[in-house]
């Protein structure tokens, strides 16, 4: 592992060093390190690129790191990671991808993550995307996440893309069983000529299932964002979509939330707002001693929770 690798790992998985607990670090398509614990076993897939992560029932308080880094310009890959999480677990999964591209070719990571969560488990899943490098080659990431939330289980999914990804197309599908819960927090900042789109499909399948999609984004310069979150209620359930976006420069944002009730007791809400930073917000912070630029920075910092 090189210094550059840890720079990327710190950005995407908050790793300063090799983590404790189970981990799998993928670098330019090869394994750069792996460790399984008694409760969490990581194995290569035999039919395609990727890994299976098996988490035993009753595993509590453990964290799994599975970051991916790409430092070879022009490297592209499609990776399939499947998570099999037992009953009564309480675990954290830190994923994410960092690309350092100093060349002229496109570097690209397409990651397909599928979660099968048992009963009465709590799963926190964090995924951060980051890119840097001084080449002209584009950094591209297309993550796809599919989650089957078991009875009485919860997934909290936090996705963050703050810097350096030229193009991304995210697809998320979550199916929630009886008494299950899904909370999706999406944070996105695009700048320059970057492009990002996100399709989310949250299906509240079981009775008393609930789900929330909270999306906050900032589009700067000439960047473009498109959001299409959808919650479908197939039972007596509660679903809520909230999308807030800040528009800067000549950027464009389309936010198209949808709710679909396929049950008479489905309770579904959506809210979406797009706007520039309000003048009175800037003035308020300036009256507290910040310059206009500092005020803008603080507003964005708070908005994206960074």
């Amino acid at each position: 592992m090189e210094k550059l690798d840890f720079t990327l790992l710190k950005e995407i998985a908050l790793m300063d060093s090799i983590p404790t607990g189970a981990y799998n670090i993928r670098k330019n398509g090869s394994s750069a390190g792996r460790f399984s614990t008694e409760n969490i076993r990581i194995e290569n897939k035999t039919d395609k690129a990727g890994i299976d992560i098996n988490i035993k029932s009753n595993t509590k308080g453990e964290t799994v790191h599975i970051p991916v880094i790409i430092t070879d310009t022009g490297y592209t890959e499609v990776v399939y990671n499947d998570f099999f999480i037992g009953d009564n677990c309480d675990v954290t999964i830190m994923a994410g991808c960092g690309i350092h591209n100093c060349g002229d070719s496109e570097s690209r990571h397409d990651g397909v993550h599928t979660f099968y969560i048992g009963k009465n488990s709590v799963v926190r899943y964090a995924e951060r995307h980051y890119g840097d490098g001084d080449g002209n080659g584009e950094n591209v990431m297309n993550p796809e996440t599919i989650v089957y939330v078991g009875e009485g289980s919860t997934i909290q999914m936090d996705t963050t893309q703050i810097k350096g990804i030229d193009s991304t197309a995210r697809k998320t599908k979550i199916v929630v069983a009886k008494d299950g819960s899904a909370i999706i927090n999406e944070k996105l900042l695009t700048h320059g000529k970057q492009y990002a789109e996100s399709d989310m499909d949250l299906i509240l399948d079981g009775e008393n299932a609930n789900g929330r999609i909270i999306s906050r984004s900032v589009a700067q310069d000439d960047s473009k964002q498109i959001f299409r979150p959808c919650v479908t209620g197939k039972s007596a359930c509660f679903g809520h979509i909230r999308c807030d976006s800040i528009l800067m420069g000549n950027a464009t944002i389309s936010s198209i939330p949808a709710v679909a009730a396929e049950h008479t007791e489905a309770n579904l809400v959506h809210e979406a707002a797009i706007g520039r930073i309000a003048g009175d917000q800037l003035i308020k912070l300036m009256t507290l001693g910040l310059t206009e630029e500092e005020a803008e920075e603080k507003i964005l910092e708070g908005f994206l929770g960074e």
Partner: protein, 242 residues
């Protein structure tokens, strides 16, 4: 000391020029608690905003501690020790109360206890609010009290509060009144409060009545307060300004 000299502020409505502040002369000595009152539309908020730099006067000057701040930016005035609490404060999606109070205090991150102290002073049960976002989940009265807390945290030499009582319930208002009394007693700050409330006006060392963009009365509390009570809070001054 705050010196306002021949201050004017005009705005245009289409082709029509509207004089909002007309040749205001006002001196507020250090450590004074001044209540600025008068009828709606009399120019109180415009005067406060002209002092803090949010609106640029069309004539005259604002001098703070001997420094002519008339052409200074909002930021420069804030750094020179002038703070302004908004009548209708903005909300900040994602920004926590703690983060906002930390910015107000000058940038260093405040501890939870420090935040709690400021929030308690405005009648908020602090532990419930420190980590909350200053967004639409808060009521208007809650946001208003957080706004006042930011001014307390700023600890400026000149604190201007624009109708701090607006939107605040009776119980919190009683606490707020006590906070103003304590602030005046324990700090050297010059305090200007825009208010129509008898309980706040009664705290003042001086009262200035602004009507139709002009100072209708300015004097000690003992001199002006009885007049206000006798005239039904400004009706007379409305007539005077016409």
């Amino acid at each position: 000391m705050l010196e306002i000299k021949n201050l004017s502020f005009s705005a245009t409505d289409g082709a029509e020029k509207i004089d909002i502040l007309k040749n205001i002369d006002l001196t507020v000595k250090d450590g004074t608690f001044l209540v600025l009152t008068g009828p709606n539309g009399g120019g109180k908020t415009s005067l406060a905003k002209a002092i803090s730099g949010i609106v640029q006067p069309t004539g005259g000057s604002v001098i703070w501690n001997g420094l002519d701040v008339t052409n200074m930016s909002i930021t420069e005035r804030a750094r020179a020790g002038i703070s302004y609490g908004f009548q209708q404060p903005p909300r900040f999606t994602g920004m926590t109360v703690k983060a906002l109070l930390s910015i107000a205090s000058g940038g260093k991150e405040l501890s939870r206890i420090e935040c709690c102290n400021y929030l308690n002073k405005v009648g908020l049960c602090a532990a419930d609010y420190v980590d909350r976002e200053v967004d639409t989940s808060l009521s208007g009265g809650e946001v208003k009290r957080i706004e006042i807390a930011t001014i307390l945290a700023r600890k400026s030499g000149l604190m201007i509060f624009d109708e701090p009582e607006a939107g605040i319930d009776l119980w919190s208002f009683a606490k707020l009144t006590e906070t103003f009394r304590e602030l005046h007693k324990t700090s050297d700050a010059t305090i200007i409060v825009i208010s129509h409330q008898e309980r706040i006006i009664s705290l003042a060392d001086e009262i200035c009545v602004l009507s139709n963009g002009q100072i209708a009365e300015h004097g000690s509390r003992d001199e002006i307060f009885p007049k206000l009570l006798g005239t039904g809070m400004g009706c007379e001054y409305m007539r005077k300004g016409e």
